[in-house]
Amino acid sequence: MIAQALENPWIRQLVNAAMLLAVINLGVLVLIYLERKVAGYIQSRLGPVHVGPRGWLQSVADAVKLVLKEDIIPAPADRFMFVLAPFFVFVPVLAVFLVLPFSSGWVAYDFSLAALYVIAAGTVAIMGIVMAGWGTNNKYSLLGGLRSAAQLISYEVPVVLAILAVVFFAQSMSLVEIAEAQRGFRWFIFQPPLLVAAFVYMIGQLAETNRTPFDLPEAESELVSGFHTEYSGIRFAMFFLAEFANTFFASALAVVLFFGGWDGLPGLTGALWLVLKSYVLVFVLMWIRWTLPRVRVDQLLGFAWKVLVPIGLIVVLWAAASVVYARGVAR
């Protein structure tokens, strides 16, 4: 009966989507545990140890706690915006996983304009954050929301430029083809222009995911905790999950763009290679988070427009030139 139900394309896509959702959330729970463990080990302490064997169930316990906790809507808040904001932040992050190729066969939808789609879907989250900042009618959240709007927009540009450089090399916007172009260990990171592009991309994504040294929107020491100060319970969980899902996606995309996606030694299946590589990148992001202090708003924007964007432009030109030169020589 199940097999017969699976023929119907709608049901299959639904199951597909449900499976993808489950994988993402499970991955995020593992990520949260990893973050707390890595933070602990870097700060010469143990991190979570009590809940479950060696603390594995800590993030599950957190999730259950957040779900059961009473989520308060502050009286002066603009209810409509307050309630809607978490969805505006959470949904785009999930939507973006649609085009991520775990391995050649495993992709929810092989979209030919995947790169463009990723960038477009990512910007919707900015609206969510500003809505949260404005909706809670709290001065700290307002500051946090406005800061993050400025930050996300200005770091969108270097990320786009970096992806553009990769697209030149792969001659296609589809992530699957980009990954295919790198099979057999010919990863794009070894191309000189794309090495710089990877550097620009990673710093841009650091800012996109609001992580130190760019975690201004939720700077604990200044704005208490920025735009999600007044959120609690399930709504705060959505912000929390969104941030970690975004971090995972940023490193997974970096793996697809620069580190050859599912291409790896024949031992493991493709998808596991991709997840393994992106976890290494996530570790680097965490490592950076627990070492560096936070930049100030004007320095943040100055760095984006005066340093990253020029480098991005140069990289795009350099990539285009090297592609044309390679094509010229080939013919």
Partner: protein
């Protein structure tokens, strides 16, 4: 300095910092997993009070001279003295820890080696009345020592009464600390 050099110099110093955090990542950790493991406490630790129990005389050293109560800046100590001279002692010793600063002035003021601060630091209570400690909580060796103390004092008083002579006032035993505040 040209911008490229500052950028690379800055990057290099960031990597140095990250090298340190990575090294600490692999270094042994300092966490003491309380309550399973405990941090050793120094012999002079100023924790929960106790009234010293004198084994041979089967009584508490305290003779109720209230020197500690006078030395206390926040009137924490109050007591009920029984008997006179060598048979003097206390049958009730109340410490209102809600006002105590753990400043050790009472221990220094006591000439009879009677009150000390031990090494117990877990004495949280759920309501304010719980922080008022009686002699049964303070006597070293638990409540039955408090009971035995009162019995010994009664016995001494009875003997002194039938011998008809009040004992002379108790001489402070030898005590390392000098005459206190």
């Amino acid at each position: 300095m040209n911008p490229l050099r500052t950028l690379l110099g800055g990057l290099w110093r960031i990597f140095l910092g990250m090298g340190l955090t990575l090294k600490t990542f692999f270094r042994p950790k300092v966490t003491i997993r309380y309550p399973y493991e405990r941090r050793p406490v120094s012999p002079r630790y100023r924790g929960m009070f106790y009234l010293k129990w004198n084994e041979e005389k089967q009584r508490l050293n305290c003779v109720g001279c209230t020197l500690c109560a006078q030395a206390c800046p926040t009137d924490v100590i109050s007591m009920n003295k029984v008997g006179k001279g060598t048979t003097a002692g206390v049958d009730e010793f109340v410490m209102d820890l809600g006002r105590c600063m753990f400043c050790n002035l009472c221990v220094e003021a006591c000439p009879f080696d009677a009150i000390y601060m031990g090494d117990r630091y877990e004495f949280a209570v759920t309501e304010k009345e719980g922080s008022v400690l009686r002699i049964v909580d303070l006597a070293q060796g638990g409540p039955e020592n408090a009971r035995r103390n009162v019995e010994t004092l009664m016995r001494l008083q009875a003997e002194a009464a039938e011998k008809g002579k009040p004992g002379e006032s108790p001489k402070p035993q030898a005590r390392p600390a000098e005459e206190g505040a």
